[in-house]
Chain length 402, copies 2
C-alpha cells in the first residue's frame, strides 16, 4: 500500500546518529564504556539545584511557570554577557539568546544561514552533532584541512576559490569534540585573519572551554572578530545537560532573525530552568564548582594518558589533551576501528569509531575515547583491555581488513 | 559597510510575531488585557510541582540531570499513549515523541514534510504560531474555506484540484485558537473522509481539548484516520507552559524521521522537566486538577458572554465558545480593528486584531479576546470599555477607515 505521506526533500538527507546506534550496541551491563560524550554525573550540583528549584517555586512560581520571552530570562542573559569578558569578548545582553542546549543554537544558525547547495566549511574531523543540525538545511560541506592545532588557516584562505559563497566556517577552538585539540593563540589569530580575508564568517562552538587542565582559556575567536562571529556556549558540561540550557551570542545584525527562528522553533527555552540555573550561578558558584570538575577530569586524563603509554602497541598515535573530555587515537596502518569494535565490546570495553566525525573521507583508523565517565582505576583497566584487543588484532594480521 | 553574513533564502520569509509586537504596545500597567494567549497563572499547581522537583532530585538526580533519550522519558511516553485512548485513539508508546512544547512539534513536522513551493492547507483563520513554524520551510499556504464548525470538507475535497501535492492539512478541531470554534462529530467525520479521498494527510493540533465546559471531547481526527494523521498535544494549558512540554503522536512510518529531526534540533527535551511532570501526572492528578481549571474558565467565559451581550453595539457577531480560552468577535462593516487598538489601549483595554491569524486576505473586522487571565469582574469592566470604544468609533463614523 502506498503512503499518503510525502516527505520533504531534506528528510532524505537526515540520518540517525551513528554514535547513538553504536551506544545501543555498547550498552551492556558491566562494560567499561569510553564511548559516550556524557559529563560525569558525579559533577552535577544536586543540592544547589534542589535549593534553587525550591526558591524559584517559592518566590517566583507564577512567572517561572508562565510563558516567557523568546530571548530568554533577562538576568541570565546579563550574566552570560558579563561572563563572556573572560574570553576577551565585549557582549551586550541584547546579543544573548538563550537556547535549548547549544545543539539548538546550531539548528537556529543553520536555519537562518544555510541554503540548499550553499557551502559550509567544517574542521576535519568535526563535531557530529553540528553536521546533523546543519544537514536538514542542505548545505554542501567543505572539509577544511586541519592538524593538531586545529583548522589550517591556509584552508580558510582558499575558501573563495575552493568553495565560493561559503556561508560560514564552523570551528571548535577548545578541546574539540572529537579530537581534544586546542587552537594555540597564534593559530587563532591566523585563522581569524584568513577568514576575514576570505570574507567567511565564523560560527564558534565552545562547550568545553571551561574544562581546561593546565592553562586557562585563550581569547575566543569571536573576541578577535566580533562582527564576523557567532559564539555558542552551554551549561551542559559545567552544571547539567539535563536542563538543556545553552546560548548564542550573535552580532546585532543577525540577532532579530535568530530570535524569529527561536520563536518559531519552540517559543522559548523553559523559563523555570533558566531561573533555576540563574539562581545557582548568580553568586559565583561556578568559580568554586568548575575547578572541582577540572581536578576530577584532569586526574582521569592523567590515568588515561598513563594507561595509553603503557598498553597501546607501537604505531598508535595520540596527543594528550589539555582539557575537555576526549582522547583521539589513530591506529597503525591496516587496522580498522569499525572491525575492532565488536571484539572490544566482547572484551568488555567500548569506544566511538572516529569515522562518524568526518564530513568527507572518514579515517577508518581513528577512535574517540572519553575519560570522564569512568574512574581512574576503571580507565586503567579499560585501556589495558584496549591494548590487548589491539595487540591481538595486530598478531592475527590475517583477519585485518586492509 | 557591507555585511560578511549571507542569510538563507528562508530567513527573508520569517517575520517577528505580530502578536508579540502588539503585546509590547499593550503591556502598560493597569491595562485590562484580553490580548495574551496565556493560561491563568492561578491554575499552575505550584505545590505539586515543588514536591515533584524535590522527589526527582532526591531519588533520581543523576538520571534526571544527565543527557537522555531523544524520544523522551519512557514512562511519560507510556502515560501519553494510554491517555490518548480518551479521544478514541489507539497509540503505542513507541509512537510518542516528547517535544519542547507543541510549538516544537509544529517545527519538526514542517522540517520533515514541507518543501519550498509545496502546498500546506490551513483553516481560515488559523493558529499564527503554526504559520510561523512552517514558514521557514517555505511552503505555499492554501487557506481552506471554514465556518463556525471549522474547516469546510468540500474545501479539503477540492485540494487535489486547487493545490495538487498538498503535504498536509493543519487542523485544530477543539476550541480553535483564535476563533474558539469546535468541530462537531459529523463535521469531523466529513472532513476526515474528504481528506482521505483527496489523499491529503492531517496534522491535528489539540492544545485546548481538555478545557471543555459543557460537553466532553469528541473523538480526535487522528482516531478516525490513524495512519493518515499526526497528533500534537501539550501540557502547557493543563499544567504549566513554563516547563515547555508537548508531544507528537505519529504513525510508525514517520516516527524515525521525526526523531532524527528532534535529535538534530535539540538532542532531547529536558529530562528533568519530563520526570517532574510525570511525577505530577502519574497518579491521576489531572483528573482532579483539570476540572478546577474548567470551572474557573467557564465562569470567566460566562462573564464575557454576558458582558458582550450587554455592551457590544448592534452588528457585532460572535459565538459563545464551548471551551478553550477565546472569543472571536467580528465588528460591523466599516470598522477596522487595527485602527481601534490604539484607542482601546488609551481607554485601558487590549485585544489582538484577528488579521494576524490569516494566511491570506485577513479580515480587518475581527478580533480575539482571551477570557482566562482576568477575573470575571475585570472581564465585565473590560468588555464595557470595549463597548464604549466601539460605540464611539461608530458615532465618529468620519474617522473610520473604510
Amino acid at each position: 500500500m502506498s503512503s499518503v505521506w510525502n516527505q520533504a526533500r531534506r528528510a532524505a538527507r537526515m540520518n540517525p546518529s551513528i554514535i547513538r546506534e553504536i551506544l545501543k550496541v555498547t550498552e551492556k551491563p558491566g562494560i567499561l564504556s569510553m564511548a559516550g560524550g556524557l559529563p560525569s554525573s558525579d559533577t552535577f550540583p544536586v543540592e544547589e539545584l534542589k535549593a534553587a528549584c525550591d526558591r524559584v517555586l517559592s518566590e517566583n512560581a507564577k512567572e517561572a511557570l508562565q510563558y516567557a520571552a523568546s530571548e530568554g530570562f533577562a538576568p541570565l542573559r546579563e550574566w552570560v554577557a558579563a561572563r563572556s569578558a573572560e574570553l576577551g569578548m565585549q557582549v551586550a545582553p541584547e546579543q544573548v539568546l538563550i537556547t535549548s542546549g547549544s545543539q539548538q543554537g546550531l539548528d537556529l544558525v543553520g536555519k537562518i544561514l544555510c541554503d540548499a547547495g550553499a557551502p559550509v566549511a567544517v574542521e576535519t574531523p568535526t563535531y557530529l552533532g553540528a553536521l546533523q543540525a546543519f544537514t536538514p538545511y542542505e548545505p554542501i560541506f567543505t572539509s577544511l584541512a586541519s592538524d593538531a592545532q586545529g583548522v589550517d588557516p591556509a584552508a580558510l584562505a582558499r575558501l573563495p576559490h575552493d568553495a565560493p559563497g561559503t556561508r560560514f566556517a564552523y570551528l571548535l577552538p577548545n578541546y574539540q569534540n572529537p579530537t581534544g585539540r586546542v587552537m594555540p593563540l597564534e593559530r587563532r589569530q591566523a585563522a581569524v585573519a584568513a577568514a576575514q580575508q576570505a570574507g567567511v564568517p565564523i560560527v564558534e562552538d565552545n562547550p568545553y572551554g571551561d574544562l581546561w587542565f593546565d592553562e586557562p582559556p585563550l581569547p575566543s575567536l569571536s573576541s578577535l572578530w566580533p562582527e564576523g562571529s557567532i559564539y555558542l556556549g552551554s551549561f551542559s558540561k559545567v552544571l547539567t545537560p539535563g536542563f538543556r540550557l545553552g546560548y548564542v551570542i550573535a552580532p546585532s545584525e543577525l540577532y532579530p532573525k535568530l530570535l524569529q527562528a527561536k520563536q518559531a522553533a519552540d517559543l522559548h527555552t523553559p523559563g523555570f530552568n533558566q531561573r533555576v540555573v540563574y539562581e545557582v550561578v548568580r553568586n559565583g558558584f561556578l568559580d568554586q564548582h568548575i575547578p572541582k570538575i577540572r581536578a576530577r577530569y584532569k586526574a582521569n586524563r592523567d590515568a588515561m594518558a598513563e594507561g595509553l603509554k603503557q598498553h597501546l602497541p607501537e604505531g598508535c598515535e595520540w596527543q594528550t589533551p589539555q582539557g575537555g573530555m576526549f582522547f583521539w587515537i589513530r591506529l597503525p596502518e591496516g587496522l580498522n576501528v569499525m572491525d575492532l569494535l565488536p571484539k572490544a565490546v566482547d572484551a568488555g570495553i567500548a569506544f566511538v569509531p572516529g569515522a562518524a566525525f568526518y564530513a568527507h573521507s572518514p579515517d577508518p583508523r581513528t577512535m574517540r575515547l572519553s575519560f570522564v565517565t569512568l574512574t581512574p582505576a576503571q580507565i586503567s583497566e579499560g585501556v589495558a583491555i584496549l591494548g590487548r584487543v589491539l595487540r591481538e588484532a595486530i598478531d592475527n594480521g590475517a583477519e585485518i581488513t586492509p
